[in-house]
Amino acid sequence: MSNKRKAQDFLLQFGTYFAAFFSFATLSLIIFFIFTNGVKLLNLDLITHDYQAKTHIAEPLAPNDTDYFEPEETLKAEVYYSPRWGLGLIDSIDLMGKTQVEIAYVHPSSPFQQLHDKGLSHELLSLKPDMMIIRIAYSDQPSSLARYGAEQMIDELALSNQIRELEFTIPGGGIRGSIITTFYLIVFSLLFALPIGIGAAIYLNEYAKNNRFTRLLRSFIELLTGVPSIIYGLMGLAFFVPFIINVSSATSGSILSGSMTMAVILLPVVIRTTEESLKVVPDEYRQGSLALGASKTQTTFRIVLPGAFPGVLSATLLAIGRIIGESAALVFAIGTAIKDDIRVTEQSTSLAVHIWAMMTDEPANIELSSTIAIIILLIVLLLNLLIKLLTRRFLRKVSAPR
């Protein structure tokens, strides 16, 4: 081989190595980016908290002079505690880097357990750990503010006999609402898509004759896979949204209209995956069942379908992955309003749309978006792994007796 040939070969070979490395580098970069940006917000509070922070102004009852609340648990060293009010505070720093005063402990019989809301609603409020105190205004001395820190606030609190009002925040930035929406979306979309998809797959594989009509049906269903999701979104907006508005109390896009749109997107995936698994069920099963006197319906639903169960399961998992990742269609079919109280007839965002809504907002919230992206990525990876295991087991099971 000539040297020129060798050099050329080496260059081409190097090209393939480089290309493969490029894919690997992309994946590593994406994961690195998402984790470095998102990991600091990743904790349990994120999942349980509301997105919108709520601020209350309230008024507690005055403590008796003789009150003395011994804390019932050992408090951390950084906690400043006022035994007279039964309140423990701690310094913390918010996402913008500002000092704030966080509640670390409230004694069970502290006056702060019962607060009268001074706002529009007259419900009874109570302070709980994790809430932030913004200011405390006294009747007998100047107010204490959060920016001077927890120690000074506790000192001033100890001197006072009467609190005029107390302003505190239940911190936001959580994604509880979007998690619930995503869950509802999964349940309802599958409720629509699975029966239709599995039924259609059974018809195509078990009942339909191989004629022109069937081939036409197949090609129409196959066409659905090529439609971009934003077009599905438009269809949902123009068809399912008005439909749900007509039959329910909804006034705009809703989880229900989103699920119906999503179901249409899922149909080709569900049909194809189910059909594939129906095909693998050996014909001897069908013949045996029919020979024993079972009807066609009994054979299909009692023998063939259970045999194809792993396939149906992996279709479901694929569908769940698609629902969690979908954004463009849902922007149109549900809307982009991030909500905390979730109703199926109202707008709200799935996790993916939550990211989109925050990223198109000014200023874009890259940290929280990355945290949500971590969650989405982990779920998607887990689903992929499950599907892989499932297919491997299914194939082994089917091919074993032969």
Partner: protein, 315 residues
């Protein structure tokens, strides 16, 4: 006894027929959705061209598909919409992204299918699978948080003031990254299904391993590789949310400058929808209609080329 049997049998037949018809209805329902989509987009999308649009005046079809400004005059006061420049930028961006994703995708596929040792190939296959399953919004987030910054700093080095990195270049990079896994997966299947005898023949004739891979294997798998490219183009044309985070939302003027802001048909559809009826609402369906037509024509042309290219056999 025999009568019981007969009624049982006729009941069974009835159930069978019922199940048959029921399942057939479900299949018909599934197949009908493509018509639902088509008719909804058509009806809503044609409204701006056929009606008076509540006094705003009819939108002209020719100005709509040739114009250079998305909307002249404020929203709700004008019917002067046009998407001409959007059609061209969309195609331009998709073409550029294919310039990156096609070679990288195909070479990765070749590496996985023919060159890498078994363990390494398995590992890279998983990498591509994971990349393919990452939702597009995460690519968009990565683009907005990472690619934009790099493009911004790069453009400052060349002395161009790009708007925070929102540009043709960022959009092209994101689309390329998103289409690489699609192209790799499909071409890998095509490359692996190349007849082993062909490869052995080439090696027996004294061609080197690399020569065989590039001249025989890739040529033999050409048709499948072309299908991969078509699928990649399809995905890139229809991509919306990820692109909308890095494009910059250009409202007018055709620009081929890599560092200038841009917009595609899909990002324009996603931008600020204020009403749930009227022209500003319906016009999005018209854009959707244009997008579908663009996709259909591109697909048709690419398939035509594929048929021509596919006919050439391995020399």
């Amino acid at each position: 006894m025999s009568r019981i049997n007969t009624t049982l049998r006729s009941k069974k037949i009835l159930i069978d027929q019922f199940a048959h018809q029921g399942l057939k209805t479900l299949a018909l329902l599934s197949a009908s959705f493509i018509f639902l989509i088509g008719s909804v987009i058509l009806v809503k999308g044609l409204t701006p061209f056929l009606t008076d649009n509540d006094g705003l005046g009819r939108v002209g079809l020719i100005p709509f598909i040739t114009g250079n400004v998305w909307l002249i005059d404020p929203t709700f006061q004008s019917s002067l919409y046009s998407v001409g420049f959007l059609i061209i930028t969309t195609l331009y961006i998709v073409f550029l992204s294919l310039l990156i994703s096609f070679p990288v995708g195909v070479l990765t596929a070749l590496f996985i299918a023919k060159i890498a040792p078994k363990k390494l190939a398995e590992c890279f296959r998983s990498v591509v699978e994971i990349l393919a399953s990452i939702p597009s919004i995460i690519y968009g987030l990565f683009g907005a948080g990472f690619i934009l910054k790099i493009v911004y700093q790069m453009s400052q080095l060349v002395g161009v003031q790009s708007k925070g990195g929102n540009s043709v270049l960022s959009t092209v990079i994101i689309l390329a990254l998103m289409t690489i896994p699609t192209i790799t997966t499909v071409s890998e299947v095509a490359i692996r299904s190349v007849d082993q005898r062909l490869i052995e023949g080439s090696l027996a004739l004294g061609a080197s391993f690399t020569q065989t891979n590039f001249k025989v294997v890739l040529t033999a798998a050409k048709s499948g590789i072309f299908t991969a490219a078509i699928l990649g183009v399809g995905r890139a044309l229809g991509e919306a949310t990820a692109v909308s985070l890095v494009a910059g939302g250009r409202r007018s003027g055709l620009s081929f400058d890599l560092l200038d802001t841009t917009a595609t048909l899909t990002t324009t559809m996603l931008e600020g929808m204020k009403e749930s009826q009227g022209l500003d609402y319906n016009i999005r369906f018209s854009v959707g209609m244009v997008l579908l037509v663009v996709i259909l024509i591109t697909n048709f042309l690419l398939n035509l080329i594929k048929r021509k290219v596919g006919k050439i056999h391995v020399k």
